[in-house]
Amino acid sequence: MSEDLIRLTAAELADHLASGEVSSVEATQASLDRIHAVDGEVHAFLHVADKAALATAAEVDRRRAAGEELPSLAGVPIAVKDVMTTKDMPTTSGSKILEGWVPPYDATVVEHLRNHDMVLLGKTNMDEFAMGSSTEYSAYGPTHNPWDLDRIPGGSGGGSAAAVAAFEAPLATGSDTGGSIRFPAHVTGTVGVKPTYGQVSRWGAIALASSLDQMGPVARTVLDTALLHDVIKGHDPKDSTSINREWPSFADAVRQADLSGVRVGVIRQLTGEGFQAGVRARFNEAVTLLTKAGADVVEVDCPHIGSAVAAYYLILPAEASSNLARFDGVRYGRRVMPETGPETVENMMAATREAGFGPEVKRRIILGTYALSAGYYDQFYGQAQKVRTLIQRDFDAAFSQVDVLVSPTGPTTAFKLGAKVNDPLAMYLNDVATIPANLAGIPGMSVPMGRADEDGLPVGLQVLAPAMHDERLYTVAAVVERELTAAWGKPLLGFAPELKEASK
């Protein structure tokens, strides 16, 4: 039963819980067993909250037995990216500088999960402060891709994607600043959505780049992603950039998906050169599939997208250098006294930051500090903001012609651990297709579109929609998933190799 339970989708599990066939304690225990069996090799989790999870599950079961009406995902287990504060679990954002820190407050996303009586299994691994595309920059060691443990699971949210792909949890949360939800989904054969900027609260999400960060759902199916998205979206007065409006049900968008008459644009600048052959092949098939399903597909130009990575790597480090300045050892987290020299507060701050931050974080802090320096601001940060505006205009123009845009989510399949860790530029280019959506504030999704012929590894289709129209992502992705799953005879993850379970 345990083995079957972990393979249920969140939607199926929710139905079983509602009907009483399965208890939340059983489902939670199954997830915990799976974590203890496989996470030694996958390393998706930084913290597992067995006791608290089972206590929550038991409470949900008790209330359900008492006849209480519960939210639809009540009792469903979920993993939380360690970027989000949780008042009963350590929160490190993948950094040593926050090792052991237990926040006194919950992120709004986490509050939503608790209010929906979901069971928090633990915290998932990530690149330090969400800086990376492979989870190799986690201060606590990399996460391994369940498809091939020698390969990266993407990043920064490799922990959440791997947890879902390895059936350790049906659902997980993520944060996406330049592709941290979508790129891991692409390389692990899972689904992930970066919502419209301002749709999901950033309160309690440890900031990387405030104007780019957006929290979102991670799951194995499009419907599950929508169900979680429906739980976490909504206005939050504690986040001034939060949008105050009513949003449609994304789960309904999945259930009613129909592509007839939908105009789909293929972004010319995100095909061809720089994309692995197997990625291109699956993408071309996906486009054909969309046409067959009734969509009108055209090619569109986004001429400034080629400058997106350059602009992003000025804006992101600038904001990150500012957001990470607070980690100074004075009030919380790690404090390191200087080994030499007088024990002044300045020397303590320097020693703390020297010991507490990893190399990629230091690299970006230095880049950002430089970009914001007097005399360089206009040349770098100012110029990058102008490029950002041009990219937004590109999207405005494109969306005046089409309803959604599509591209491959990433240029390659999962690469080997260590392959790019010393080549920052190569690492940064993994996000070439995902970064533009963050610069423009528009929603984006990655949904599996098959496996590359050359290595058999999963690849994802990226769908982009105009700001405020996240439901369109679900319409397109639901059809793609339905058609492809039918063609394959099973979900893509069914092709993943079985993970060796450690003896229980």
């Binding site: 926040p103 900031a207 950039t241 904001e319 500012s322 607070r326 980690f327 100074d328 009030r331 007097a374």
Partner: protein
Amino acid sequence: MSSLTMPFEKALELFEPVMGFEVHVELNTATKMFSWAPNEYGDEPNTNVTPLCLGLPGTLPVVNKQAVTSSIRLGLALGCHIAESCRFARKHYFYPDLPKAYQISQFDEPIASEGHVEIELETGEVFQIPIERAHMEEDAGKLTHLGGSGRIQGATASLVDYNRAGVPLVEIVTKPIEGTGALAPQVAREYVSTIRDMVKALGISDARMDQGSIRCDANISLRPRGATKLGTRTETKNINSLKSVERAIRYEIQRQAAILAAGGSIMQETRNWHEDSGRTTAGRPKSDADDYRYMPEPDLVPILTSRERVAELAQTVPESPVLRRRRLKQEWGFTELEFRDVVNGGLVDVVEHTVEAGASPAAARKWWTGEITRVANERGVEVETLQVTPADVAGLEALIEAGTITDRIARQVLAGVLDGEGTPQQVVDARQLAVVSDDSALLEAIDSALSSQPDVLAKIQSGKVQAAGAIIGAVMKAMHGQADAKRVRELILERASQS
């Protein structure tokens, strides 16, 4: 460290001072600038804090609307243009009292800009102080250095109180103030005094320099008479009273003049004012190239202010301190000196309220600048912290006019009020201080005094009326002072003529 100074008059013969001020006003909003933490002065350290005030990761600022309203009203009182749209910016530096390692402030888009403030010196001279901008920002926490001199240098440890971190501030920045000559110290003092009166009248701040709710950084530079190029400036901090503003400017003029006259050059630096020694000492070097790496605050959206809103708030701006003072001085009929006492004592408001409560302006002035100020000085506190209201003073005066108490008794009544015994009437009742107006009681005392001093009676009867003073004294003593001396005198003379 050179502490040579040049005589002030000599310095002014050689040099022309140019000043500039940054005045920080703490707003008296219920909560902080970007957080729901209470904005309270003097509470137990680190109790008025939220995760935001401590800069915990994941926290986000939300703008306090009341603070924006107060800032706009202050901007209007300063004659400024109010921005239709303005943004916050992050100003970065590492310091333990700055929880996020950046201060949320405004940089290239202040909420108010381009205004002026009219000030009037004691001598009647009027100056227009040009205002460059007024912008919103948050305060930092408060450091207490243990050991050493109480400064960070040489301290063994430092404690941080984040209660003040995030308290809303408006920083008012002047343009260079030229052409004041030898009046520079008075202009400086009057400018800060005018800002204080302005924010008091607006009701947007406690306006207490001693508690730091108004803080003044004074920039000053000297240039040779006739030169146009500005000299190198210093920025004097830690000025805690109006008197210090004047003294600090005077001292810096004398200090800089001595250095320049000796062929030296001025260091561009901050200087700390020392109230006790009346000197400034070097702080930290400050260059125009200080790099705060300003960037637009991405966690906040722009503040939009419609013209209708500005017009609506303009209705709530009271008359300017200078106009108000001119009007009150005339209405009250005070001499220059009398009015100056009231202004310098920060007593304009209480005197005005006392007059409104029914006292004569002269009486109101007499009580507030006299006995009440004396008690405040004696107790080493500000007048406004004393437990006496304008209504009390008016009530006290009414009791005197009604003949219920005498001037002398009135002081005892005031003491009772100050000790929290209630209103003047309640004190009079409780302490039984009402004047004895029953003639029979007075006559009894007079007869007793006259019979014990027959020689005095004889003198009075022989026409030496002033001899009655001795009897009056005895009667007043017998009545414990609770008699009207004038009536006693009348009765004595009556008695003397009868016997």
